[in-house]
Amino acid sequence: MEVKKDILWRVYLGFLGLGVFGFLILGKAFYTQRFEGSYWKSMGDSLHTKILDLAAERGTIYSEDGSMLSTSLPQFDIYIDFGADGLRAKDGKNFYENIDSLSISLAGLFNDKTAAEYKKELKQAYADKERYYQLHKKVSFEEYKALRSFPLVRLGRNKSGFIAEVKTKRLNPFGELGFRTIGLYRENSKLVGLERSFDSVLRGTTGKRLVRYVAGGVLMPVEGFEVEPENGDDVYTTIDVNIQDITERALMRTMTTNEALEGTCIVMEVATGKIKAIANLGRTPEGTYFETDNYALRTSEPGSTIKLVTLLAALEDKHVTINDNIAIHGGRWNLNGRTIVDDHHGPEVTTIKTAFTQSSNVAMSKLAYQYYTGKPKEYYKHFTALHLTGKTGIELNEEFSPLIRNPNKVKPKQWHPQTLASWGFGYELMVSPLQMLMVYNAVANNGKMMKPYLLNEIKSYGTVIRKNKPIVLNEAIASEATIKQLQECLAAVCTEGTARKQFETAPYKAAGKTGTAKVNDGKFKYRDGVYQSAFAGYFPVDAPKYSIIVVVKNKPHAANYYGGSVAAPVFREIADHLYKYSIDKQQPLQLPVQDSMLYTFAGMKKEVNTIASQFGFTYADQLAGNWRRSYLKNKTVQSQTVQTSNAVMPDVKGMGLKDALYVLETAGMKVQVTGKGRIVNTSVAAGSPVAKGQEIMLYLN
């Protein structure tokens, strides 16, 4: 029993030891809970839950007429996980059974590779067991729908390994039309234009969702922890797609003919200040043109277009009238050692009006120098009245401030006596085309200066949450008498001045001012022979509707660089289109005269002949042209030629649709149709001028 006792105390010692150890275990657990508990619990929560962002749908940018200028569409990037269990199960049974039909389907859908190529690549990727094989990027929703029904893919994510990642693509339905102004939205790149200015509005609010990892790598939303995303608001702009298109094309034509470096053109509605179009083109090294920058907002020395302001100052301060004479010394004037030269030789003395229309630098610098030397502040107050001392405040962040030396902030001694003379014809100060246009628009608007703006309204889920109204910056920039004289001078530029040739044939009257300035910016010096051609004006003269500015920076030593010959044609082309556009709008639809239709027939010469002989009417056709409008008179068929040309609208009334389409589309028009039967009316009246590509609406009875 001694042995057993000896053993027994050892056993109890072991038992005790294990008992103590048990307490240690529980103690450790207690310690973990009591003193580190919150740390571990919060770690547990952070490891197992995660906050996911729910992307908000970006708002759409609309034109004034409701066309989408920039909108968002879902897009899919398709990947395949060749390591998916379901795909590899049973030695890739699913994969090998479907590979052939899948390859054929893919080749048919994407059309970029043959079925054999697809098959080869998929097999290779399967062999390499790629976990994230990129099948196709930027798949549209329609394609994605088709893809989902394909063999293998339709087995679902687990069995096919197909992964679709949704991305939102920003789409500009009109391509790069005005995109510096509208803005392109691309991930990871800086925004420009309205996309930038209204980013906070368009972006919406990203939603948040708390998710928890559960078994099998599935994410499960945690109830009550979800913030729904708020979709971005829609921005309705003042831009008119048609005018924008016209503007862009007109500018492009001039840019390419002259191989110019940069160009911009803005169209503004006179009465409201709405920007209807804003085009910017910059030459790329390859010689193509692209909206490289918003030149409309960049400042430069304006040159002769500023002469409107010079004249305004002199007239308003009653130093002169436009019929006063002024000595221009044949176009060369020596001012304290500096020679101011006109582009053309002129007479010794001329009227101020003529000097303006001929764009005499001497006359304009003289006006400024003569009447304001010693009192630049008096001159400067006109810049203030014209809001040329600050930004216009247009809804674009890229706008530059004008640079005009403020005599109120400079000591008289530091004021250079030549500055006023330079100001007179547009140097030593920098103004952007938009700011200049605002001034011309005010003159067109009888002295009432409107603030230029791009934003009509903002809608949130269809309801208007912000509406912009035209803003008057200055009820009268000058007296009525001054404005009248300015308007007269501007009109004279287009009838007898530097832009005379461009408007000789115009069916409307325009007013404006040419400008040809030597460029001295960071890149070019005055001696480099780079000229900036400009034309700013408005039309029609009697009741101005639109004001337009065109500014083009030419290539060095360009053969053609005058504002009248480079910029004015752009104005003319745009004005021509807008004129037609406005005429068409004014003419209400004429109701067709029903009964006369019964006896008239319009169609091809041959067909009229056939009909006449078939029905036994006497008919002899000796007229020119292929198209006839015929009617019965005293049982004889009388015919007229239907004039077809590319410049005027043919009279297609009475024709069948087939004939009318032929006539109009060979003339280059785009035709839309409503109704059935024969043509009873057209959106453009017969005989009015039409352009290639213009849209014509045909009404059939």
């Binding site: 294990l18 048990g22 275990i25 450790k28 657990a29 508990g37 919150s38 740390y39 547990g44 099998g216």
Partner: protein
């Protein structure tokens, strides 16, 4: 007549009850732990069932029920065997286990560079051979201890014959599973101590084992880049087999900051922290989704998470009761072998349980040890049942011995 009565009593429920003998408390513990196992395994396999059986969580429940049934059958038959037979079997089983260990070392299924498993044909069950070897070793040690009591203090006659089997078995387990080898060795030492082996000799073994362990710790310290917080590049000698794993584990335990602890340690701590005093309630574990092997190696963490410190204490208590009842058997057992057998097997089980719990609460470095009778199925569960069966067999004999002095009341009734 008596023969017929015998036969009928064998198959009637009452007969089965008569045949079921041994310590009733130990039986009760087996039942309670099995029930706990059912509850926790069902909860812990939830995520595994999701992954493999599309959410049919009953699959593992039924599997565990099958295992428990099989386990109880094993306990029953093992306890019906007269334990003296185990004495004879012990030596044979010991030799067989050596062969099995060697086979496993070279041909076994590899998991994480450790070759620990062999697959039994026909029944398609993977068996961790160290489980068999452990059982065989402790049975064999009990036999030796009981036989050598007279010469136990002698180095050559007592100590060496006892030490040899331990060295062989532990040496064969170590390459694939160092922690099990250490655990087995330590338990053996405890048994030698209880078996009155000279304390000097045991200290000698302690010193001999300490040398490689200290070397391992030294290497782990030397090849740890504190600035980077990771293991430096190891020379070729140290990159063989599982040596890098050992080094890494020691380093993790020695250096890791709270947040840098190995993933499973981190998740286990979170489970413990979430449990609190009363736990989240049955089936409410969240950590089961993140803990590796929440149904076996980390089942205790899940128990704490679902049943709190109360539940955790209950499990510790149950194992201590189990050990206490085995000590009672030892006191009552008239034969040395039986006494040692009950002690050896119960201490092993409880030490293994404590180790599992210590790992779970972060008291020990990470080792893959199951919680006996609670962890889900597998060969270790069945071997645990076999061990308990053997203990109950001793208990039955103790009862029989007592019964011979005062006849069992049931027989009279």
């Amino acid at each position: 007549m008596s023969q017929i009565a015998n036969i009928s009593s064998k198959f009637s429920p009452a007969g089965l009850r008569d045949k079921t003998r041994g310590d009733k408390v130990i039986w009760a513990i087996v039942v309670v732990l099995s029930l706990v196992s059912l509850l926790v395994v069902y909860s812990a396999t939830n995520s595994l069932a999701y992954k493999l059986y599309k959410g049919n969580t009953f699959v593992y429940l039924f599997k565990q029920i099958a295992f428990i049934t099989l386990g109880i059958i094993i306990v029953y038959f093992a306890h019906r065997v007269n334990y003296t037979i185990y004495s004879r079997v012990a030596k044979m089983l010991f030799y067989i286990s050596i062969v099995l260990l060697i086979y496993t070392l070279f041909f076994g299924a590899k998991i994480n560079d450790g070759s620990r498993w062999i697959k039994l044909p026909i029944i398609n069950l993977t068996v961790q051979t160290s489980d068999i070897a452990k059982l065989a070793l402790f049975m064999y040690l009990s036999r030796l201890l009981s036989k050598k009591q007279d010469v136990i203090k002698d180095f050559k006659k007592g100590f060496l014959p006892l030490m040899m089997p331990i060295v062989i078995i532990c040496g064969l387990i170590a390459p694939a599973n160092l922690s099990t080898a250490l655990l087995t060795g330590a338990t053996s030492m405890l048994l030698l101590f209880i078996g009155r082996v000279s304390f000097k000799h045991i200290a000698l073994v302690g010193a001999a084992v300490a040398v490689p362990v200290i070397i391992l710790i030294a290497i782990a310290g030397a090849y740890y880049d504190k600035a980077e917080g990771k293991t430096k590049e190891l020379p070729a000698v140290l990159s063989a087999g599982r040596i890098p794993t050992w080094i890494k584990r020691v380093q993790d335990f020695m250096y890791a900051e709270k947040s840098e602890a190995p993933y499973q340690v981190l998740q286990a701590k979170i489970a413990v922290a979430k449990g609190g005093m009363f736990g989240l309630g049955p089936g409410n574990s969240e950590q089961r989704n993140f803990l590796p092997h929440p149904y076996s190696d980390y089942i205790y963490a899940i128990i704490i998470e679902e049943y709190g410190l109360i539940g955790a204490s209950f499990i510790v208590f149950i194992y201590m009761v189990f050990l206490f009842r085995s000590i009672r058997l030892f006191r009552k057992c008239p034969y040395a072998f039986g006494a040692f057998l009950a002690l050896a097997l119960s201490f092993t089980l409880v030490i293994q349980a404590m180790t599992n719990m210590a790992v779970n609460v972060g008291l020990f470095p990470v080792t893959g040890v199951t919680l006996p009778l609670v962890s889900m199925g597998g060969s270790s569960f069945l071997f645990t049942c076999l061990a308990i069966g053997i203990i109950l067999s001793v208990a039955r004999n103790v009862e029989d011995a007592e019964g011979s002095l005062e006849p069992a009341k049931e027989e009279l009734a």
